[in-house]
């Protein structure tokens, strides 16, 4: 794992490269609204994420940040506006939804591993049945990703036998086995014991270094500073402020952002 300073340099190089090749849009959200019953959870969301970009979404609880990224793989439906992922617009057409989901990995707060399957089976299920990859090959890929998240020795165990941090790393590996183009993280470290946060963040950082397009809902501001290209601050279902991390943390503009940062940064 490279230390923070070298990562910052990497990021700057990345940014330069990005400005050159910003042709490819990974996710585009235009004028999107969503209601839960009568409750207006997401209001006029406009967001464009380029390939290779790493976005951190922050905000108080109930601000709609989880709902937002869950709309991107249509675990939640939006009622107005457009969401275009990998050039495919999300509509009620289930075929398109599955198409998008195949290319978008998601990591959940509570891991959501399949408890009745071994770690290896958790990793190979979707590649075998969705991608049609032969079992042997799927298992090879799975072991490669388990090694990448540093727990190949747990392959034969069941999720219930692993620690929270290990489970979350398996969950990340499970998503990566589908070879996704975009990864969504929904508070991946919030349910972990403090001692296990680091091992998961390390995996996420190395993933970021490999150029993966990432949208992370997280409260880990250190992570945001270190790897994000942009930080998005949400409150009451809307995007309040959006900036590069250095500017976002050192010079927040909106009153609500200032208040939020003063609460969480000591």
């Amino acid at each position: 794992m490279s230390d923070i300073s070298s990562t910052v340099v990497d990021r700057d190089i990345d940014r330069q490269r990005m400005t050159v090749s910003q042709t490819d849009v990974a996710v585009e959200i235009i004028g999107m609204h969503k209601w839960y019953g009568d409750f207006h959870v997401l209001r006029d969301i406009n967001l464009k994420v380029m390939r290779g970009e790493r976005i951190v979404i922050a905000g108080p609880s109930g601000s709609g940040k989880s709902t937002l990224i869950r709309c991107i793989n249509r675990l939640e439906e939006h009622q107005q506006g457009q969401i275009i992922v990998n050039g495919t617009e999300l509509t009620s057409d289930l075929k398109r939804v599955d198409e998008v989901r195949r290319e978008v990995g998601m990591v959940f707060q509570h891991f959501n591993l399949f408890p009745h399957l071994t770690i290896l089976q958790n990793l190979t299920l979707a590649p075998i049945w969705v991608r049609g990859i032969p079992k042997v090959q799927a298992e090879e890929t799975a072991m490669m990703y388990l090694e990448r998240v540093k727990i190949p020795e747990q392959a034969a165990k069941f999720p219930g036998q692993l620690s929270g941090g290990q489970q979350q790393r398996v969950a990340i590996a499970r998503s990566l086995c589908m070879n996704p183009q975009i990864m969504l993280f929904d508070e991946p470290t919030s349910a972990l014991d403090p001692e296990m946060v680091k091992e998961v963040l390390e995996v996420m950082i190395s993933l970021a270094e490999s150029g993966m397009t990432m949208l992370c809902v997280t409260h880990e501001m250190g992570f945001a500073r270190q790897v994000a290209n942009r930080v998005i601050f949400m409150d009451q279902g809307q995007i309040i402020e959006e900036n590069e991390p250095d500017a976002f943390f050192s010079n927040p503009q909106h009153e609500r952002t200032k208040l939020f940062l003063s609460q969480i940064l000591h």
Binding site: D98, N112, L125, A126, V130, F158, L184
Partner: protein, 372 residues
Amino acid sequence: MTGFVRTELEEARPAPRRASGFLLWARKNLFSNITDSVLTVLGILFLLWAVPPLFNFVLGHAVLPGGTVEECRAPGAGACWAYVAARVNFFIYGFYPVDEYWRPNLVFALGAVLLIPLLMPKVPFKRTNALLFFIVLPIVTYFLLNGGVFGLRKVPTEQWGGLLVTLIISLVGIFCSIPIGILLALGRQSKMPVIKTLCVMFIELWRAVPLITVLFMASIMLPLFLPQGTTIDKLLRALVGVTLFSSAYMAEVIRGGLQAIPRGQYEAGASLGLGYWQRMGFIVLPQAIKHVIPGIVNNFISLFKDTSLVSIVGIFDLLNTIQAATSDTNWFSPTQAITGYLFAAAIYWIFCFSMSRYSMYMERRLDTGHKR
């Protein structure tokens, strides 16, 4: 003032030995206080009062197989097992022709040979085995028992009876009600209003009607609605009735299991791009069914016992053959009927208890150590 810093780490030590021995155990579990002691004494007295006469009836004074009817008629004689032994073929095969007994015997043997390895997790070739048991065996059974082909004598289902029919009805009911029940449960959770309504109506209709009514309807009412000349086999009608009836119950048990699966499991499956049937088949159902094994087996057991209700539409299942045999005057004795019913109870108990134990074994085996 300084704090505390541990200099040496404490090694793990074995737990202190607990004193054991019968007296200590008895004192702790039987006589720990006055109420317990009184209850223990009362319990022992009850056993002393109840067990010896029961034992004498069932074994001590019983007439064992090979005995004569005169011995059974003697005063003070216990259970007349000689009678059961003499009529046991009737209890097993009903009115099936005696010289064709090899056919049901072959079915029993095939069933056992295919079912036992299927129930043992370690035996390989599960897929082939299941295919043979669930697809090939029913077809073979039908042609073998029914006859009329391959030079086999035709034996109409009216002549089938006894344990044979009880097993056929319950096994068909059990193994058909699971897939139908799963589909109904999934349908009831469906977001498609037509499917959902149909499933709810089906389930609620069958659950709201007693099985006896279903069987009466199937055997007496149904022929009235059919065009003249069409007959549907009586056993088949009972089979369909029992299967649909237990499917409705199975559906509700499985729905209970589906509700216990956290939403995150569906979402994780969806986020990986798995389609609806893949999500259900690989992720949700295996867990849901595991949760409700006790309920499912409960259904099996009650279905197995409920098959005795087919006697009211004139099908000679195990209980009905035993009941019919009580009018056998050759074996008339004071204990004839009660011995027959004891035998029936023993058979039902063996099957139901085996199912119960097997389900407990499966529950333990399928436990993957997750409790969240």
